[in-house]
């Protein structure tokens, strides 16, 4: 079985984002493998072990540093990787087209795993666009996954702790959520071994993607202002609770 997993190189959520110019940010900060994509890699490797005779290929669209994220995926157990290199901050329309082209070149997979969202763009859409482009079924927010011959059975997170049980044919695209598995952290030998695995680098331009009709353009980035005045409510427990109730009533008007 051939399994692809899409991984994105994203700024560490703990890093400070410093805005440069109108719509850029200082990229000399720590970048990581998108946290949701860790679940995608973990699941891909798990399925490979379960099915046997399979290959896991990690694919990323990004700048040359994205190779580090591919190395993380390789250390987690992916067999080889493809970097679609570009200097632009690709939107999800371009990204999904690039993924489709590179994955298509490599040979059509049976399953493609992605995360449910990237934590920088918070787009929630690349897997759907990729699936539509490849004419595959897709489910996202997946928290349980099993294979049954030519079909897959997944559980998708819905509201208020409900889950939809979905049955789809292979090939398909699966967007993974956090409840699906617990990513294992790579061992030192696995990290060493990952350095020797193949990473193929393709220039985005060489994929000759047709200019899409639609695009997303970031006009401006601004820091979110989030100063709150932080007043302490003081006194005996009964008193502070009365003060809080007054706030809920008069200020928030929820009582």
């Amino acid at each position: 079985m051939k399994i692809c997993v899409c991984v994105k190189h994203v700024p560490d959520s703990a890093a400070k984002i410093t805005i440069k110019g109108k719509n850029q940010f200082d990229e000399s900060i720590n970048f990581i493998l998108n946290p949701y994509d860790e679940h995608a890699v973990e699941e891909a490797v798990r399925v490979k072990k379960q099915v046997g005779d399979s290959e896991v290929i990690a694919v990323s669209v990004g700048k040359k540093d994205a190779i580090n994220t591919l190395r993380s995926a390789l250390a987690m157990g992916a067999d080889r990787a493809i970097l679609i290199k570009t200097n632009i901050r690709a939107d999800s329309v371009i990204t999904s087209r690039a993924l489709k082209a590179a994955i298509g070149q490599d040979g059509k997979p049976d399953i493609i795993f992605t995360g449910k969202a990237s934590i920088d763009n918070e787009g929630f859409q690349t897997m759907y666009r990729l699936a539509a482009a490849l004419n595959m079924s897709v489910a996202s927010n997946v928290i349980a996954f099993s294979l049954d011959q030519e079909r897959v059975l997944v559980e998708c997170e819905m509201e208020a702790d409900a889950r939809g049980i979905i049955d789809m044919p292979l090939p398909c695209v699966i967007g993974t959520s956090k409840g699906l598995n617990k990513p294992s952290y790579p061992t030192l030998p696995a990290i060493m071994k990952a350095k020797k695995k193949e990473v193929k680098i393709i220039d985005l331009e060489s994929l000759a993607i047709e200019k899409p009709m639609s695009s997303i353009e970031i006009l401006e980035l601004k820091p979110a202002v989030e100063e709150r005045s932080s007043k302490e409510l003081k006194g005996q427990p009964e008193e502070v609770v009365m003060q809080l109730i007054r706030v809920l009533r008069e200020e928030a008007k929820v009582l």
Binding site: F124, R129, D167, P212, P223
Partner: protein, 325 residues
């Protein structure tokens, strides 16, 4: 007048109240509002939707009756209806259902999509949304032939604007493309959805155990709040992941967010920083959350929360007696 489509969500036979914020976001003088309902309840909610300014209610069903929930057939039905009516802008909620439907529709139409918008200009095709776990606000321009937007629940205030509405039935063929919804299972923590609640009370490491969350549920029951949690509480398996608030959990914007025994990490703030009022109960006056909230109480949550529940119970009881609520 340009037509704007709005995907309406129904839950347990009721209109979700977060729909009205989406309607408010779509409304202005130069647009005509079309509400899409897919579960056969179009006529039922006519007056309610008209009260908020919806002029046309598109009651979508299949030739075989109401559409059963299936993200593929629902998306296709909406696309057919949009094409039939000549609508090329669609707004919905960034809810679980919206996250299933809006990207599918955008992918089929090859349309730009921005999820979780907190501001919108339908004429300029620009929106604001937070990025990088809420650290920045991006102003984004969508370019394309049609436009799909997911609105953050509670980002817009509902605004009544009564008008006349008309219900238009629309039938599409039953369409299923490989994907089958076998069943919907309700999990253990049934209750108010985090994205729908006006008040959320959340617990973190300070809760110490699964059983202790009971005091938060008791508070929630009295006032109709939802209960959330930090990642620490979820990772310790005290509560299910569906309750996690934060960068890798739910993003919420309730009117009031009460954080109990939560230190206020960047990643937690990413999920709740746009709440109306943030209240913290923490034994540590130096906890990060006390520096960036509206009100904080330096005290043991196990002491404060039960008193809060009791006092609110008394008030709610009184209101019921005097009939003021």
């Amino acid at each position: 007048m340009e037509k704007i489509g709005i995907l309406i969500e129904i839950k347990d036979g009721e209109l979700k109240k977060t729909n009205f914020g989406v309607i408010a976001a779509a409304r202005d003088d130069c647009h005509e509002l079309y509400a899409f309902l897919l579960d056969g309840s179009g006529a039922e909610f006519k007056s309610h939707l008209a009260y908020y300014g919806v002029q046309k209610i598109i009651d979508i069903s299949s030739t075989e009756g109401p559409l059963e929930w299936n993200p593929v057939s629902w998306s296709i039905a909406i696309i057919h209806a949009m094409e039939h009516l000549g609508i090329n802008t669609l707004l919905g909620l960034t809810s679980s259902q919206g996250k299933e439907l809006l990207p599918r529709i955008a992918a089929y139409l090859d349309a730009p999509l921005v999820m979780d918008c907190t501001d919108i200009n339908l004429t300029e095709h620009t929106v604001n949304k937070s990025q990088f776990s809420g650290k920045t606000i991006a102003t984004i321009k969508a370019n394309g032939l049609s436009y799909i937007y997911g609105i953050r629940p509670n980002a817009f205030e509902e605004k009544p604007a009564p008008c006349e509405a008309e219900v238009i039935p629309y039938q599409t063929g039953p369409e299923s493309e490989g994907l089958i919804v076998k069943e919907i299972k309700q999990g253990a923590s049934k209750g108010i959805d985090l994205s729908e609640a006006d008040i959320i009370i959340s617990g973190g490491r300070g809760m110490k155990s699964s059983e202790n969350f009971r005091i938060l549920f008791e508070f929630a029951d009295v006032i109709g709040a939802a209960v959330g949690a930090s990642r620490v509480a979820v990772d310790a398996e005290w509560v299910p992941y569906s309750m996690q608030v934060g960068q890798t959990g739910a993003t919420v914007s309730p009117k009031v967010y009460i954080a109990c025994g939560i230190s206020g990490s960047v990643q937690h703030f990413a999920g709740m920083k746009t709440s109306g009022l943030i209240v913290a109960v923490n034994t540590d006056p130096e906890a990060n959350i006390t520096k960036n909230c509206d009100y904080y109480i330096v005290s043991d949550l196990f002491e404060i929360v039960p008193i809060l529940t009791r006092q609110i119970k008394e008030i709610v009881g009184e209101d019921q007696l005097t009939g003021t609520k």
